[in-house]
């Protein structure tokens, strides 16, 4: 019998490491969405003197690759400096797991993004954000890739639901190809706000729906 998963993936899936929440976490992030696809939450504790991740935990609402990647990422990141941890890629996680099926990349990449976002969350909270790049259409599009379309569980960009993105003097306009009265319109709007409004130079966000 042959699963598409390596023994290491199955081992981490059956016995995930560092599961749970950290109370009073120094940084935390959730990638994905409960209304749609897989979801991962990452919590970190930072030793400010050494600038290292002293503790890390994760939770997963997802498939085997999602759980296994969440688990391996905590092992890879623990004890690393923030910069080292931020540089951990999906490829690193995949290699440490002995390979992941390509089709499952989008479920497993969430954990890697979760780790990065949790560190960014820590840095934002502690005024440690170094470089402030101006927000571009590409930045917005990348963030929208993390907003799920609850109808299919795939992201807005992949399901061609982003009709238009406009940016002018900190004013961002996003046009979503969905009727405003659609049952998921409100949820999608909330999620877009969450992802875009936190960008440092965004003053106003307008989300429009098509008919």
């Amino acid at each position: 019998m042959k699963f598409p998963y390596s023994d290491t993936v199955l081992e981490h899936f059956r016995h995930p490491r560092n599961v749970g929440k950290i109370d009073n976490a120094d940084g935390k992030a959730t990638e994905g969405s409960p209304a749609c696809g897989d979801m991962v939450s990452v919590y970190i504790k930072v030793d400010p003197d050494k600038n290292i991740l002293s503790d890390i935990k994760f939770e997963s609402y997802g498939c085997a690759s999602n759980i296994a990647t969440g688990s391996i990422i905590t092992e890879l990141a623990k004890g690393k400096t923030l910069d080292e941890a931020k540089r951990i890629t999906w490829k690193d996680a995949s290699q440490a797991l002995g390979g992941l099926p390509k089709i499952k990349a989008h479920c497993s990449v969430l954990a890697v993004e979760g780790l990065r976002s949790a560190i960014e969350n820590y840095e934002e909270r502690h005024g440690l954000v170094k470089e402030r790049k101006p927000t571009t259409v590409e930045t917005v599009r990348n963030r929208l890739k993390k907003v799920m379309n609850p109808i299919s569980g795939l992201d807005l960009v992949r399901t061609n639901m982003v009709r238009d993105i406009g940016i002018q003097d900190g004013n961002v306009r996003v046009v979503v190809d969905l009727p405003a009265n659609h049952q998921f319109a409100a949820a999608i709007k909330e999620e877009i706000k969450e992802k875009i409004e936190t960008l440092w130079d965004v003053k106003q966000l307008v989300i429009e729906f098509t008919e």
């Binding site: 699963f3 199955l10 899936f13 059956r14 995930p16 599961v19 929440k21 959730t30 409960p34 209304a35 749609c36 696809g37 897989d38 979801m39 991962v40 939450s41 939770e59 997963s60 609402y61 997802g62 498939c63 085997a64 999602n66 759980i67 089709i103 499952k104 479920c107 799920m148 609850p150 109808i151 299919s152 569980g153 795939l154 998921f184």
Partner: protein, 390 residues
Amino acid sequence: MSARRIYLDNAATTRMDEQVLEAMKPYFFDIYAVATSEFAYTQGIEAREALDEAREGLARFLNANPEEFIFTSGSTESSNIALKGVALALGNKKGKHIIVSKIEDFPVLHSARALEREGFTITYLDVDSEGLVNIDRLKDHISDETILVSIQHANQEIGTVQDIAGIGRVCREKNVLFHTDATHTFTRLPIDVEKVPVDLITVSAHTIHGPKGVGGLYIRKGTQIAKWMDGGFQEFNLRAGLENISGAIGFAKAVELVTPTENEWLRTMRDRAIDRILAEIPDTTLNGHRTRRLPQNVNITFHFIEGESITLHLDMHGFAVSTGSACFSRSLEGSHVIYGIGGDHERAHGSIRITLGRYNTMEEVDAVVQTLAEVTQELRNISPLGKESR
């Protein structure tokens, strides 16, 4: 890994019964000739008689005439013949409108989509939260252009059984042909074409412990349907191709082996599984109708966790089940049936289907419920969701 393997995915396909194989054997080694006319050689005549007999057995089960039943390669082909054959026969004569339900299985749904690309208009009829078609609404959608209504007898995933007698009466009244995909109900629920005004019925052998690669289509006498598979004159000149006689014999034997007692027993095991899961495992929702339901179908959403994780854990414990989660499918699309009953991605994400068959026991039902309780607890411990409600 556990050595014992317990198969609970009987809607996907079933283990063949040994008695079916025994019935089929002579038609591989002794009577392997093509079914000839009665004026040819002995082997061919024997083959012809065997095929006729198998056909009679299947027709009898539907209370139909043997000439109204053709053998096919399975339910996919049967539904293709029904939709495309009617479309070819009536599209230019009567109209180009076809009605199907939103939760049909792929053979019907994708045949409808293929016809849509050819210029037909398709109405994808909504179902309610339990999966039932509203007959009044169906009535409203039927126009002078409508040539066919195709609504399944029972759903492949959530097991909801439609009122095909009621649907058939509306179609008859409006003079529209009615096809039903009975892949999952055939022999499990009665269907009598004398009582139910249905014109076309798709059936299959592999779902009832028969061989794979053989199915059938009931075609009521007088139904306007075009030949779709061209070639010879087999199957009353409606479906060309060398007859699969061993398959037809196996199909007839499989039908003969199903008993009312077995169906009652499946229902008992089903009810036990549903009742125990809903009572013993928190945050669970039954998908489909509680009573208007296939005797062998259980489909439940376990909230806050994902289906592929559940099936993988169950597999490690030796159980084979299926899920409507997007993660489980090759296309990464969640179940169109769960969406069809108004469920969102979350409902599909954690849905598990257990389908029972002849070789399952009550011990296995209890064992899978027990394992589900453990596995879902484990996964919920990992999940960031639902902690507030527990």
